[in-house]
Symmetry: C2
Subunit: 404 residues, 2 copies
């Protein structure tokens, strides 16, 4: 039995027309003699409607009942998909989390899967049936419904692929795959055919919103190869796999960029041990995400300048917290709201010298000033003026031959 | 532990305001030291929305998946009620059919309850919790979700009252109880304080739509006393119980009436054995419900006249079937679309002679002509011209002292 797990996101099952279309996709695999396990999200908009209902009751709705409420969304979608397959003459059945069962911990709203019992699914597959499994939900050891966090239907699909030792796992979504960069910024952006988990993680944490980072990480930890492709177009998507499987001579795989960043510089901070912790502790306590951080020697030898970036939305709150902070003294604060982070990502840079140089050279050739730099093993990020983003992406895309 | 089962229908939980109001009702019982089990329907309109979704897929949607789809409605309502009780500081938890579990047969869409495991509910009640049980749904021995038929949340409540040996079972709805007659027809209609199962069954099968007849029958078979009352007004409702518990000297309990009836007379049918069967068999095969039937000797000694009543909606179909019927010959067909059935109902009539006489006398005093008569142990029905209904109900209501 060669098993394929097909996961459909909210927009892929967002209407009756869409359910008919994805039924055709499912049937195409059945006809290719695959034993198909479908994992579905709620129809797009449904989860938000249910969340709204909970907010009508109160803002801190009980987490356990919240899971009961939200899991109704996938229940509806799965029943409709299964009902449509049956109408078309195929044996099918919906499986809620508790029916598989998908056993999770008790962390309501953000549970982790402990174990998936495969017997029920395998038995149904062997009988020629196509199980439609509700994504995003499970059941804990107290027989209570749990949910796995938003976007976690991908996680369900990947874990089912793991426990059922599936040959393929395909994440159907509303984009065609992972692109070398944002096509809205650079029109020659190309689809990436194959990408490593690590690159995919960097791409998604840097703004390429194809999949939640968590689910990519779960796939990486469990060594599950998967494809991301569109349920709207029949084009080939992007394969996500471990580095070893990638035989490609590109130095970098993609260019990601962020929008709506802001830069803050605290000038003339009294330099003493633990000063960085004193500055950043209140931000972390208030759930403000600080991204890049640079500490420079200031003009005055006993002072230092600290620069960091964050989302524009958090800027006002951050400035307030800085003013309230009694543990630090400084001369002044400079802010810049019109900055963006552009990153080049690729496992190829590990073995290829001179990537940093080529990046800086390309940018300087276009007279683009680099404000902050940060690097990791497979990524180099630079902060630049937002006005320069298009120019920068275009130059880098060409420099690293991503146009081909 | 004195247990009360409180069942709330769709309109009782039809909005967030309503959920807040019924929470107050629930809490009032908790404060009176009851162990409260709540049974809830889906919010009004929700089930119809889900049915509509299934119809978008196809008209003969798979019954098993239909149950999965529909049961999401109660899941949403129960999570919201439970979440609201928790917000107010009470320990609460929703229980879906499979979590109780409520074990049913496999007759999807119209399952019967085989057994309710009480341990989980009792344990939660003993811990001081208020379980919110999803009405209308159960689980079969294949771990599939089943539903109990429309309006069957009452059935869930009654069976939970049975298995938990509840002291009280209260059906909260949008009417104040069972009325002596339709207040729209006769404004002095009074609420009935106590009524037997059998009378209630006659009342509901004759048009007083307080509860589905099935659920009343289930209560009767299991000897579960219950109250019907309004969640919109804090008035006392109607108690439904076995005849023995009723110590009341009224001869009749209520007057029910039907609207939109039609009368058909087949004049001069050749009288031979089995002729009635030949006439009615095609109706039954076509799901046409025939109500009253009378066979008279015709003017011609070898012929007979057969009169029957049915719903006006079925009249055209019935006439067509009569014309197609090759097994019978007759002289002509007379129809009357403006007829209504008025029934007096009461266990008191078993032990009280002269009830029929009093009914006929009252009607004749008002010059109301009786077209057809039919009687049962606790009911006398007469067919009259619709134009006379108000007059008839008024006369009978007074004759049998229901005004007091």
């Amino acid at each position: 039995m060669k098993i394929v797990v097909l996961k459909f996101g909210g927009t892929s099952v967002g209407s009756f027309k869409r359910i008919r279309i994805i039924s055709k996709i499912i049937i195409s695999y059945i006809k290719k003699k695959y034993a198909v396990v479908v994992v579905s999200s709620a129809m797009s908009g449904e989860t938000n409607k249910l969340i709204k209902k909970s907010k009508e009751i109160c803002n801190n709705f009980d987490k356990s009942e919240y899971d009961v409420l939200l899991s109704a969304g996938e229940q509806i979608a799965c029943a409709l998909i299964s009902g449509n397959l049956i109408r078309l003459g195929y044996k099918s059945r919906s499986f809620m989390g508790w029916q598989v069962p998908i056993l999770t911990d008790t962390n309501h709203g953000n549970s982790k899967i402990n174990y998936i019992q495969k017997n029920n699914l395998i038995k149904f597959l062997k009988s020629g049936g196509t199980p439609i499994v509700a994504g995003f939900q499970g059941v804990n050891n107290k027989f209570k419904i749990t949910t796995l966090g938003r976007g976690a239907s991908d996680y369900t699909a990947i874990m089912i692929a793991k426990y059922l030792k599936a040959q393929k796992c395909i994440i159907y979504t509303d984009v065609e795959g992972v692109m070398t960069t944002d096509p809205k910024v650079y029109k020659n952006a190309k689809k990436i055919k194959i990408i490593s988990y690590e690159e995919m993680l960097e791409m998604s944490s840097l703004g390429s919103k194809v999949m939640q980072s968590n689910s990519v990480q779960d796939a990486r930890l469990n060594r599950i190869n998967f494809d991301v492709r569109s349920s709207f177009k029949s084009t080939v998507g992007t394969s996500v796999t471990k580095r070893k499987n990638i035989k490609n001579n590109k130095v970098i795989t993609g260019i990601s960029l962020t929008k709506n960043d802001a830069k803050v510089t605290i000038v003339g901070v009294k330099d003493k041990p633990g000063i960085a912790a004193s500055i950043f502790e209140p931000f972390s306590r208030n759930n403000i995400n600080i991204d890049m951080v640079v500490q420079n020697i200031s003009a005055n030898r006993h002072d230092t300048d600290i620069t960091f970036t964050l989302k524009q939305d958090d800027l006002n709150k951050t400035l307030k917290l800085l003013k309230l902070n009694k543990k630090i003294t400084y001369r002044k604060i400079l802010i810049d709201k019109n900055v963006s982070k552009v990153s080049i990502i690729g496992v190829g840079m590990i073995t290829t010298p001179g990537v940093t140089y080529r990046m800086f050279k390309s940018l300087s050739r276009k007279n683009i000033n680099i404000l902050v730099i940060s690097t990791s093993e497979i990524k180099i990020s630079v902060l630049i003026k937002s006005i320069n983003v298009k120019k920068a992406v275009s130059a880098l895309h060409k420099e690293f031959k991503l146009d081909k």
